[in-house]
Amino acid sequence: MEQALANLEVFAATLLELAREDSDLLVVTSDSRGSAKLAPFAKAASGQIVEVGIAEQNLVGVAAGLTAAGKKVFAVSPASFLTARSLEQIKNDLCYSDRPVKAVGISAGVSYGALGTTHHSLHDYAALRAIHNITIVAPADNYETREAVRAAANLPKPVYLRFGKKPMPHLRRVEPGFQLGKASLIREGTDLSFLACGETVAPAYAAAELLAKEGVQCRVLSLHTVKPLDEAAVRKAGSETRAMITVEEHSVNGGLGEACAGLLLQAGIHPPFKIVGFPDEPTVTGSQEEIFRHYGIDGPGLRATALQVLGRT
């Protein structure tokens, strides 16, 4: 697969395009412009960036205030801090108060690799899924990133956007187009479905390609919008494929997998089902790639899990 840019870089470039179209658009950062690839933005649109220093609670509160006075705000900070330290501000100042700030979690999941658990965000879907009035989006590739940032900017509601910093491959889509809340079909198949989001869609696709060589045809869905979930697409996959695997760069507790499991069980659909993510244990140390491999979130690992779920091992 052709490697393209990190989603984070595409986010920053898209934001600059949006800023040029709308002088009310602001980016608020917490000493995070470098990590967020926003240095070019700061140079090109210096009047549209607000720095609050290393103060994530303040970042979200100030963003809420700016929005209350008519600004269109993207509040950007590492996902680990933004969704833990500022969780109460996200809950009250954005969601409860209905301030349509776009909270952008950068270097999400285990993007920071060997920097360790302080810098990992494996809790954010779970924490935010339980809060009313927020859309949660983890784009899979550069295309979804560009579209998601534009769609979020136009949505008059709070949104959480989650980006990693690894260059991502371009993913071909069976059907063109992007819509918040609607899954992207990356690959068609009826033997097994991979339901993935964010940077785990690419390894799910890689596994599907490996499995195809063995005669196993997999459906791959990018569930970029973790909330609200594309319930129809998940139910359809549950009905039309023989087994399902969810894949996420998140704890197995409270994330995409449990969202899908809850939906399917309540719909009376229960194919063989496996949640792949981070188990409830101290996260293994290493680079993002090594951590992914350790937990079976790569092509070979997901292939093995698929064969197991299908009862072929």
């Binding site: 509160g61 100030v62 205030g65 700016l66 929005t67 209350a68 600004k71």
Partner: protein
């Protein structure tokens, strides 16, 4: 630049403000007694501040509440919602009768302010949130070259929340002289004295060190409140901080300065005595 909203009418005189405070205190007591809940002590300590803000200082009215040029008021001290509701009802943001539903099933009038209530700018209640939001609104005002001003009311007990100080630094950094924070300095919080729980003093020096221009006043004296609140900004280029010395439970002798009235509800006898004291105080206003 868009035109300013019309000036606030009526501009009450100092004597009228005194009468208004007495009336607000009676309304508060009736409300808390009727619904059986409320942050009585804090409501009574901050009611004079709200009175002066809404009847003399803030350039906002029901007609101009959605104007981008209105003055903004954020009640960071969200638990004193009853005080805000009583004042907003009196100013015509909604009908006073609506408050009969306070805390009832499906009522928008609950124990903390929400935007479901006409006149409320931001949902508050969790402590240490309002100042950052006020900073954001003030900063947008500077960026958009608006003349509006932003006022926020902070309880003193909540100043141990670190988020206040994060926001204070930002206010000074961006030279937000369109922002005024008022501390309702009643010296009590739910467990007891603020100074016994975690020393706050010297608050004036702390806010000065964080870049605010600070003035003290008697926060239960409408004349003194007028003197400082009509003088903001105290210094061009700096946010203003009003350290308003108040008494929790102010106006009712047996509630004053008593932590147990933080959210105490008077029984029938206490209610009668309280109302009698308030009636006498109102009658004594010259």
């Amino acid at each position: 630049m868009s035109p300013k909203p019309p000036p606030l009418l009526p501009r009450l005189t100092e004597r009228e403000l005194k009468r208004k405070s007495a009336q607000y205190r009676k309304s508060l007591l009736r409300l808390i007694k009727a619904c059986g809940a409320g942050h009585t002590g804090g409501d009574l300590s901050c009611i004079d501040i709200l009175n002066v803000l809404y009847n003399r200082v803030l350039r906002v009215s029901p007609e101009t509440f959605h104007s981008p040029d209105r003055d903004y008021y954020i009640q960071s001290k969200g638990h004193c919602a009853e005080a805000l509701f009583v004042v907003l009802a009196d100013r015509g943001f909604f009908c006073e009768k609506d408050l009969e539903t306070l805390n009832r099933y499906r009522s928008p009038y609950i124990g903390h302010p929400t935007r479901e209530v006409n006149g409320v700018e931001q949902n508050t209640g969790a402590l240490g949130h309002g100042l950052a939001v006020a900073v954001g609104i003030a900063l947008a005002g500077k960026m958009n070259r608006k003349d509006y001003r932003v006022f926020t009311l902070l309880g003193d007990g909540k100043l141990t929340e670190g988020s206040n100080w994060e926001a204070a630094m930002t206010a000074a950094h961006y030279r937000l002289d369109n922002l005024t924070a008022i501390v309702d300095r009643n010296g009590l919080q739910i467990t007891g004295s603020t100074e016994d729980i975690c020393q706050l003093a010297p608050l004036d020096e702390k806010f000065e060190a964080f870049g605010f221009s600070v003035q003290r006043c008697d926060g239960n004296n409408v004349g003194d409140l007028l003197r400082v609140l009509e003088a903001v900004p105290f210094n061009p280029g700096r946010p203003s901080l009003v350290l308003a010395r108040t008494r929790k439970g102010k106006g009712i002798s047996f509630m004053e300065n008593a932590a147990k009235w933080h959210h105490g509800v008077p029984n029938d006898d206490e209610f009668s005595r309280a109302m009698a004291e308030l009636e006498a105080a109102e009658a004594a206003i010259e």
